[in-house]
């Protein structure tokens, strides 16, 4: 058996400073022209060298869906698994291999429909994986059915009379599931996305990043209110740690304040400076982050983006006992175990 094949050039990459190219695999990208996935791939490949983790210590585990193809395009270790289960596989990997940087790439169907349970459990357990949820509010790969984030009334191939069900708010769901890192960003805002991904990468524990991603084929423009020039200033509520939460054009700046009834409200910034909420992503109590998540029911309203929550808590997979794993390959310890309890010898 020969497990190798002659190719032209580039070695194992351990010797030189990593560049974006080191993270690009030789597979042709096969998304539709204009798909938001390209921009995300580009941002991730560009960010990677900065994280200081070599390609061989980086793993992408993906589910099935257009988003799932991501694994093939990264020149790291990767697994394109089955629909909805990437998180479970990543959990097994993270539990056994603390030395790796593990990323899960998933779609709104993959992560929230078939994979919803694994997602909430991975967040609850705080499994050290970075979960990127490409939310295009549609099923792309299977050609246009409603997803759990599709808005009510949406006409799709599976809902010819309009989708009946209320969509999930992935940020709220994640916060309800005890997530320690929850963020949202946009495929068309490279800088914002990069910064959010960087913080996700640095977080110790499970990080969930919802990325609003345009699917020009089956759900074109779903997020244009947030991403396009003429609307985005008024629509993006950018959460910045330590800053009062304000948004909109300078001349009509608005902000988020605590309302009299205890809820949140949007007010004119001018004259309300004292009431504006200062964003604290490290707050232990997730309730305020939850309230921020509920500010918008969908991307057609002014919508918060950025990091809703980032707190430190114990990570899954750390050993529960003392001296775990002392005896891997330890024949003596095994022998002792085999002989535990009452034994007798027959000559």
């Amino acid at each position: 058996m020969s497990a190798t094949l002659h190719v032209n050039g580039n070695g194992n990459g351990a010797e030189h400073r990593l560049t974006k190219a080191d993270f690009q695999s030789d597979q042709e990208t096969r998304w539709c022209p204009g798909c938001g996935d390209y921009a995300i791939l580009n941002a991730v490949q560009t960010l990677m060298p900065d994280l200081g983790v070599p390609t061989e210590k980086t793993v992408f585990v993906t589910g099935i869906g257009c988003a799932g193809r991501f694994a093939y395009y990264m020149d790291t270790y990767g697994m394109h698994s089955i629909h909805g289960r990437a998180t479970t596989i990543a959990t097994g990997l993270a539990t056994t291999r603390e030395d790796l940087s593990i990323w899960v790439v998933s779609g709104d169907g993959d992560a929230l429909s078939i994979g919803g349970n694994h997602l909430i459990h991975a967040l609850r357990r705080n499994v050290p994986v970075k979960i990127l949820l490409f939310n295009n509010q549609i099923y792309g790969l299977t050609k246009g059915q409603a997803s759990p984030t599709s808005e009510r009334g949406k006409i799709t191939k599976s809902t010819p009379f309009g989708s009946q069900d209320r969509p999930f708010n992935p940020i709220a769901l994640a916060l309800g599931a005890e997530a320690s890192f929850v963020a949202r960003t946009l495929d068309r805002d490279r800088k914002h996305m990069t910064e959010v991904l960087r913080q996700a990468a640095e977080h110790k524990g499970a990080s969930l990043v919802e990325i609003y991603q345009n699917c020009p084929i089956f759900n074109d423009g779903a997020f244009f209110n947030l991403t396009e020039k003429d609307t985005k200033v008024a629509a993006q509520i950018r959460l910045e740690h330590g800053q009062p939460i304000t948004f909109g054009p300078e001349e009509a700046l608005r902000g988020v304040a605590r309302a009299d009834d205890g809820g949140l409200e949007i007010v004119a910034a001018a004259g309300n400076e004292q009431r504006l909420i200062v964003h604290d992503q490290h707050r232990e109590d997730p309730s305020l982050a939850f309230a921020l998540a509920r500010l918008a029911d969908g991307p057609t309203e002014p919508t918060p983006i950025g990091i809703f929550r980032q707190v430190q808590r114990p990570v899954h997979g750390a050993a529960a006992s003392e001296n775990p794993g002392r005896a891997v390959g330890d024949v003596g310890a095994l022998d002792q175990l085999l002989h535990a309890g009452d034994t007798w010898t027959i000559a």
Binding site: E56, R85, L337
Partner: protein, 609 residues
Amino acid sequence: MRFAGDSGDGMQLAGGRFTDATAVLGNDLATLPDFPAEIRAPAGTIPGVSAFQIHFASRDILTPGDAPNVLVAMNPAALKANLAALPRGATIIVNEDAFTRRNLEKAGYAESPLDDDTLSEFTVHRVPMTSLTTRASEGLEGVGTRDAGRAKNLFALGLLSWLYDRPTDVTERWIEGKFASKPAAKAANLAAFQAGWSFGETTELLDVQYKILPATDVESGTYRQVNGTTATALGLLAGSVRARLPLLLASYPITPASELLHELSKHERLGVRTVQAEDEIAAAGVALGAAFGGHLGITSTSGPGMDLKSETIGLALMLELPMVIVDVQRAGPSTGLPTKTEQSDLLMAMYGRHGDAPLPILAAQTAGDCFRSAFEAVQIAIERRTPVILLTDGFLANSSEPWRIPSLEELPEIDPGFASAPPEGESFLPYARDERGVRPWAPPGTPGLEHRIGGIEKQDGTGNISYDPANHAHMTRVRAAKVSNIAADLPPLAVDDPGGDADVLVLGWGSTYGSIRAGVRRVRDRGLKVAQAHVRHINPLPSNIGEVLRGYDKVLVPEMNTGQLVKLLRAEFLVDCKPYNKITGQPLYAAELEEAIVELIEAPAEVPA
């Protein structure tokens, strides 16, 4: 011998202790616990009855015995529930104190069976165990009546230990260890045990004292008692140690597989990680993730959980990563009878995945054999890069037998053979294969081996996605060949045919081994000839099996299902194997089998049409 009482009465404990004392004596034995399905059914009722049966003798024991010769019944319900299973003339020892009006009613007795002729065919001994136990601890410091009342199982154990001449020191040591921190309970239990023993010795109530000599014709070595669960855990651990790979078990609790999770959870210090996943799908995924990471990934479950794991098992098969799936079979379909045993998952193990998706399947045949089978499952999985299904069952998991502890040199080393970085200028081919059809295993971490794998059909060699029709056909055949190739390295099927001239072969698999051996022995004891063989490798089958089957006029295939292995054999070898099926959720009985074998021997040979 069977202990039966209320599930709160500690019958499993009494049975377990008796078993230990018996094993230490070197008697050969087999046990069969029988739990109630409800956690705690109402005390005193039939559904609440818990029983523990043990069969022991100096000659090698193969089954827990068809019908017990001695029944200890702690209350009327226990008597009622077990009466049907007793042969005429059996001995019954009852806790007389428990035969109150209320208890009789709960058990559905209008009259006390001790007072009418219900038990006329049996030898009955009435022992006021509750009051004797209470009395035994009178005056002991700190012992309340509650402690005393609870110890009546120890009284029964003491009585039976005397009856069968079991050593008392093993049990006494156990009591001392168990209740080390509770002096009152310790005192009460010791007193009860000793009172039971003394009662046997001093009263004249029991007319016979059974004496069974230690076993003689067994292999030399150091022995211990194991049940199938422990043996499986130890076998998996041994595989992990010999492969020098840490073991991860991911599982979701389910009867009767949960015990394996409990058992392995204790061994974190031996490099074991256990994950109680959110469901069986996740458990399989977690095990597969560990395997991708270069660890030994195991998942365990029973029937319903197997259904759920099938998609992930299919992925593991496509990824060609090692993984062991332990299926502790129970009576199905659906929820079925969770606490009863059955062998009805064999065809699911073979075919329970979409697509053409063959994988190796092993079946353990005795509690102790679970060790060897588990070890072998690990070995095949790692060396062949494939998910392997290990079939055990509820009977194996819970029954115990004396087991010769293997010395670790007997166990081969297992070489994970991780891929190493290709020479400069070459690139890694994750789906290149060696002569056995095995691909490289390259866990993350090695520079130069970065690669992507997935469930879509892959190009031979590179592992890239390929929609090429010819490649798909090729890969389908390659995957099948990889599994069937294993047969070349398996031991041939051994046939026990003392004279070499039997016409009838009895071929079984899995936990029926003991029953079949016992049945065959009974037939031979009648002077008839019969050959016997037992299959431990279900897929691939041993390479000589076709030959073996064709060597006999008639083949009987006993199974605890409606006929599953028999289908595989008939399809593969076109031999008219006859099914013998028992689907009551109970082990086969030697006597029933004896009859079936004799019937087949005596049946006129069919003339081929």
